[in-house]
C-alpha cells in the first residue's frame, strides 16, 4: 500500500493548467525526491496532497485517505514544512513551535529541545526578528518534533547554511530509519543524492521520470571522448550516437547505454590511442529534464527525445 498515490492529477487555475495529468507514487518508509524546475507544479501538487487545493480530476490518496474529504484526520498523521515560511511576527520562535505542535495534535517535548539545540535556534527571539534561514528552522523543528507517519518537506533547506544542511540530512536519515515516509521537494541535488531512495521529476505539470537514481542514470547517455590513429569516420551513422564533435584532434560524442557496444566495435577499426568515457552526472541528468530551452545549448543537455 503506497503512502502517496496520485494518478492523472489535473489542477487548473482559470486558464492555466498547473497540473496536467501528474502521477506520483511514494512507498512506505522511503525518502522520495520530488524535483522539477521552478513553476513545474511541485508546490501545487503538495497543496493538493494536503487538502488545501481541490483537484479538478484524477485520483489522490494519502495514507489511504482522501486528502480533501478527510483533511483533519489525515493531518494528525503528517507534518508539513512549507517552502516559504511565514510566522506570527509577535510570537517567539518557541511559542510558534509549540503552537504548530499543539495544532497537529501534540509534539514530543524532549525531541523539540534536542532539535532546538542541534539546529542552534534561539527560541526566545520574536519571529519578526528571524532571518529566512531561522524561520525555516522554526518550521523544521516544529515538524520533526511531531511523531507522525509522513513528512512533507517543500524545499526545506533553501535558506540553511551547509552546517545546518548536514544536521538536516542526518535528521531525515533518522526519520527514514525509524520507518517514517518523507516526500522531499528540493533543488539541492547533493541533498537529493544523499537522502533519496527514489525520485520523481516533473515538468509543466506532468511526471517525466520516476525511479531510483541508478535507474535514471541508466536512461541517460554516456559521454565518450576518443582519439584514433586514423581519421574517424562513420560514427554519425551509428544507432544511438548523438552530438558528434571534433575537439583538438579528438572526437567527442554522446551514446545511449544500449548502443555502447556497437560504438566500441566500430571504433576498434580506426586504432584507438586514447579513450575516456563519463557517466552522466546528476546535474546533467536533471538539466536534461529541466526545460527545453536551457537544454539545447548545454554541453550535456541534448536529451534522448
Amino acid at each position: 500500500m503506497p503512502v502517496i498515490s496520485i494518478e492523472h492529477l489535473v489542477k487548473t487555475f482559470g486558464a492555466v493548467r498547473a497540473l496536467d495529468g501528474l502521477d506520483l507514487r511514494v512507498e512506505a518508509g522511503e525518502v522520495h525526491g520530488f524535483l522539477g524546475p521552478n513553476g513545474a507544479g511541485k508546490s501545487t501538487t503538495i497543496r493538493v496532497l494536503l487538502g488545501l487545493l481541490r483537484r479538478d480530476a484524477g485520483e489522490v490518496r494519502v495514507l489511504d485517505a482522501d486528502p480533501w474529504r478527510d483533511a483533519v484526520a489525515l493531518h494528525r498523521r503528517l507534518a508539513y514544512v512549507p517552502g516559504d515560511v511565514s510566522l506570527w511576527p509577535n510570537l517567539s520562535g518557541g511559542e510558534a513551535i509549540d503552537l504548530f505542535g499543539a495544532l497537529r495534535g501534540g509534539l514530543d517535548r524532549r525531541r523539540r529541545d534536542e532539535l532546538l539545540e542541534r539546529f542552534v535556534l534561539d527560541p526566545t527571539k520574536k519571529c519578526r526578528a528571524y532571518s529566512k534561514g531561522n524561520r525555516q528552522k522554526v518550521a523544521i523543528v516544529a515538524a520533526l518534533a511531531t511523531p507522525v507517519e509522513l513528512y512533507v518537506l517543500d524545499e526545506p533547506t533553501s535558506g540553511l547554511d551547509p552546517l545546518m544542511e548536514a544536521v538536516f540530512q542526518d535528521e531525515v536519515r533518522q526519520l527514514a530509519h525509524s520507518g517514517a515516509t518523507v516526500l522531499l521537494s528540493s533543488h539541492v541535488l547533493a541533498e537529493v543524492e544523499a537522502l533519496c531512495d527514489r525520485v520523481s521529476i516533473i515538468r509543466e505539470g506532468r511526471t517525466v521520470e520516476s525511479g531510483t537514481l541508478t535507474e535514471l542514470r541508466h536512461l541517460a547517455r554516456t559521454t565518450v571522448t576518443v582519439q584514433t590513429a586514423r581519421p574517424l569516420t562513420g560514427v554519425e551513422a551509428l544507432p544511438g550516437v548523438h552530438e558528434v564533435r571534433a575537439v583538438d584532434g579528438r572526437t567527442s560524442l554522446e551514446v545511449e547505454p544500449a548502443h555502447l557496444d556497437t560504438l566500441l566495435a566500430h571504433l576498434v577499426g580506426f586504432g584507438v590511442t586514447a579513450l575516456t568515457s563519463a557517466p552522466p552526472t546528476l546535474e546533467e541528468l536533471f538539466l536534461r529534464h529541466y526545460g527545453d530551452a536551457s537544454a539545447n545549448g548545454h554541453r550535456a543537455g541534448a536529451g534522448a527525445r
Binding site: 488545501l52 510570537l91 509549540d98 495544532l103 495534535g105 526566545t124 527571539k125
Partner: protein
C-alpha cells in the same frame, strides 16, 4: 551631498507608489473641510446665532476641549471652531502613516536594503519621504485656502486657517521622522507617532479648558499647555480673529529640529535597527496559547486594549458633553434638527446619546472588519496554508476568528455605552444606573455588527481576492448611508441596505425586538454562506 544621492528617484518612486492615496488625501481633506464649512454656514446663518455660538463656546468646557478656543463671532471663526480639530487630527495621522510607510516600513520589508545597496545615500529614503509628505501638506493647505476664499470667507483668515492645518501636518511629519528612527517595526513607529498625536490633543484640550474667557465673553485665551501642542499652535494662529502670523513658524522650526535629530539617529544606527532593542519572548508557549481560541486572544489583545482605551475616554467625554447639549443647541433649531436626525426621538439629550452610541457602533464596525480580515492577510502571507495543514478543521478555524471578533466588538460596545453613561451620570446624577442603562442600550447595536461580521466572512469565504477592498467599501457605505442618507433625502430602500438603519435608536426611542431578530437572522445566513465557501475553496486563492 553623498548621503542624499538618489533622493530624486526615490521621491518619484514614492509619488508613484502613493499616487492614489496622495490624490485622495490632497483632494479629500479640502473637500471635507468645505463640506463641513458649508453645513456650519447653514446652521449659523446670521450674526445673532453666531454671537450665541461664540458665547456658549467660550464658556462651555466641552466646546473648549473638543473644538478649541473660539476666537470671535465671525463666520470664519465659527467655521474654524467646528472644523479645525477634525481636519488637524486627520492630516496629523495621514502625515504620520505616510512618513513611516516610506521610511521604516521599507527597512522592515527589506526593500531599503535592496535600495541601500544601489547608488542611494543613507538619508535619501528619509529625505524623499519628507519631501513627499511636506509637499502633500503644502498642496492640501493651498487647496483648502482657495476653497475657504471661494466660499466667501476673508482672504487673510482663510490663508491663516489653511496654513494652520497644513502646519499640523508638517509638525507630525517631523514627529514621525523621529519615531521611524526609534522603533524597529513600522507598527511601533506608527503607534509612537499616533500616541504623540493623542498627547498633543490632550495638552491642547487641557490648555484650552484652563484658559480664560475674555471680558466680552466671545473669546478664549488658552493657558500654557496649549502652546506645548502642535495641534494647539494652529488655534493660536487665531485665524479670523486677529491673525498672529508668526505662530506659523513653530511647526517649521519643529520640522527643522526633528530633521536634524532624525539625521543624527539615522547616521548612528544600522540599517533595519532601532533605538529600542527588539524584545524577547518566552522559550515555551503558555498552555493558554495552544489552540485557535488562545491564538486569537493573543493576536488581538493589543489592538483590543487600544480600542478599549479610546472608546472609554471618548464615551466618558461624550457623556459629560451630553449634559450641555440643551444649553449649546437649545436655542439653535438647525443644530437641534441635525442631532435629532442622527439620533431620533423628541428629547434632545437622549437623541444626542443615541447618536453617539450609533457612531460608536459604526466605529467598532471597523474593529470587526480589521480583526476578520486578518485571516485573509494570513492567507496572502502563506501562514494560513501552514495552519490548515495541521489538524485544524477549516470551519472551526474561521468560526473561532468570527467569534473572537464578535466578542471583542460586544465588549467594546458595552464599554463605550457604559463609559458614556458614567460620564453623563457624573454630571447629571445617578452614575450607576446610567452606566448600566446606556451599556445595555449600546449592546442593542450588536446585531448590526453581526451583519458586518457576516459580510466580511462571506467575502473571505466566497470572494477572497476582493475581500479587503469590498469589506471596507461596505463599511464606508454603511457610514455614508447613516450620516448623509437623511440629509440627502435618499429613498428608504437605499437606507435599508445598511444594517445600522434597522437598529432601534435607544435611548431616543423604545426597544423593538423584531428588527434585532431579523438582523441576527441575516447575519447567521451570511456567516453560514461564508463558512461553507471557506470550507470548499482552495487555500491559498
Amino acid at each position: 551631498m553623498n548621503g542624499l544621492a538618489g533622493t530624486g528617484r526615490l521621491t518619484r518612486l514614492a509619488l508613484r507608489r502613493d499616487r492614489i492615496r496622495l490624490a485622495l488625501w490632497v483632494l479629500g481633506t479640502p473637500l471635507l473641510g468645505l463640506a463641513l464649512a458649508a453645513s456650519v454656514t447653514g446652521i449659523y446663518p446670521d450674526d445673532s446665532s453666531r454671537l450665541g455660538y461664540a458665547r456658549t463656546s467660550a464658556s462651555s468646557v466641552v466646546a473648549r476641549a473638543f473644538n478649541g478656543p473660539i476666537v470671535g463671532p465671525d463666520l470664519g471663526a465659527v467655521v474654524v471652531a467646528e472644523t479645525y480639530v477634525t481636519l488637524a487630527l486627520l492630516v496629523a495621522l495621514l502625515s504620520t502613516f505616510a512618513v513611516v510607510r516610506h521610511t521604516r516600513q521599507n527597512e522592515e520589508t527589506g526593500r531599503a536594503e535592496l535600495l541601500g545597496a544601489a547608488v542611494v545615500g543613507r538619508y535619501a529614503l528619509l529625505a524623499a519621504a519628507l519631501l513627499v509628505v511636506v509637499g502633500a501638506n503644502v498642496v492640501t493647505a493651498v487647496l483648502l485656502a482657495l476653497g475657504f476664499v471661494a466660499s466667501g470667507l476673508p482672504v487673510a483668515g482663510s490663508v491663516a486657517a489653511a496654513l494652520a492645518i497644513g502646519g499640523v501636518g508638517v509638525a507630525f511629519t517631523a514627529v514621525a521622522a523621529v519615531t521611524a528612527q526609534l522603533s524597529v517595526t513600522s507598527r511601533g513607529a506608527n503607534a509612537l507617532a499616533a500616541a504623540g498625536v493623542g498627547v498633543a490633543f490632550v495638552l491642547r484640550a487641557a490648555g484650552d479648558v484652563l484658559g480664560r474667557q475674555t471680558d466680552d465673553g466671545l473669546r478664549v485665551e488658552s493657558a500654557w499647555p496649549s502652546w506645548l501642542s502642535p495641534i494647539g499652535w494652529g488655534n493660536q494662529v487665531r485665524a479670523f480673529g486677529g491673525e498672529r502670523w508668526w505662530v506659523h513658524a513653530l511647526p517649521v522650526a519643529l520640522l527643522a529640529a526633528a530633521v536634524a535629530l532624525a539625521v543624527l539617529l539615522a547616521g548612528r544606527r544600522d540599517l533595519g535597527a532601532g533605538l529600542f532593542a527588539a524584545r524577547r519572548g518566552p522559550a515555551r508557549a503558555a498552555s493558554g496559547l495552544l489552540g485557535p481560541a488562545g491564538l486569537v486572544w493573543r493576536l488581538h489583545r493589543g489592538a483590543l486594549l487600544g480600542w478599549a482605551v479610546a472608546v472609554a475616554v471618548l464615551g466618558f467625554s461624550m457623556g459629560v458633553a451630553a449634559d450641555e447639549v440643551n444649553d449649546m443647541v437649545g436655542e439653535n433649531p438647525a443644530a437641534a434638527e441635525a442631532i435629532a436626525q442622527l439620533g431620533g426621538g423628541a428629547n434632545l439629550v437622549d437623541a444626542f446619546l443615541a447618536a453617539m452610541l450609533g457612531l460608536f457602533a459604526l466605529t467598532i464596525g471597523a474593529y470587526v472588519v480589521q480583526a476578520l480580515l486578518r485571516t485573509r492577510g494570513d492567507e496572502t502571507d502563506g501562514l494560513l496554508e501552514a495552519i490548515l495543514a495541521t489538524a485544524v478543521d477549516r470551519i472551526r478555524w474561521l468560526t473561532t476568528q468570527v467569534l473572537g471578533a464578535i466578542l471583542g466588538a460586544a465588549a467594546l460596545l458595552l464599554l463605550a455605552g457604559a463609559a458614556t453613561g458614567l460620564g453623563y451620570g457624573v454630571v447629571a446624577g445617578d452614575p450607576l444606573g446610567r452606566t448600566a442603562s446606556l451599556g445595555g442600550a449600546a449592546l442593542l447595536r450588536l446585531p448590526a455588527l453581526l451583519v458586518v461580521a457576516g459580510v466580511v466572512t462571506l467575502l473571505v469565504g466566497l470572494a477572497p481576492r476582493w475581500s479587503v477592498a469590498l469589506s471596507w467599501s461596505a463599511l464606508i457605505g454603511f457610514l455614508l448611508l447613516g450620516q448623509l442618507g437623511a440629509v440627502l433625502d435618499l429613498p428608504q430602500v437605499a437606507l435599508d441596505l445598511s444594517p445600522y438603519t434597522h437598529v432601534p435608536s435607544v435611548p431616543a426611542v423604545d426597544v423593538a425586538v423584531p428588527p434585532l431578530v431579523a438582523l441576527t437572522g441575516v447575519a447567521a445566513l451570511l456567516l453560514a454562506a461564508g463558512l461553507a465557501g471557506f470550507r470548499h475553496r482552495d487555500v491559498p486563492s
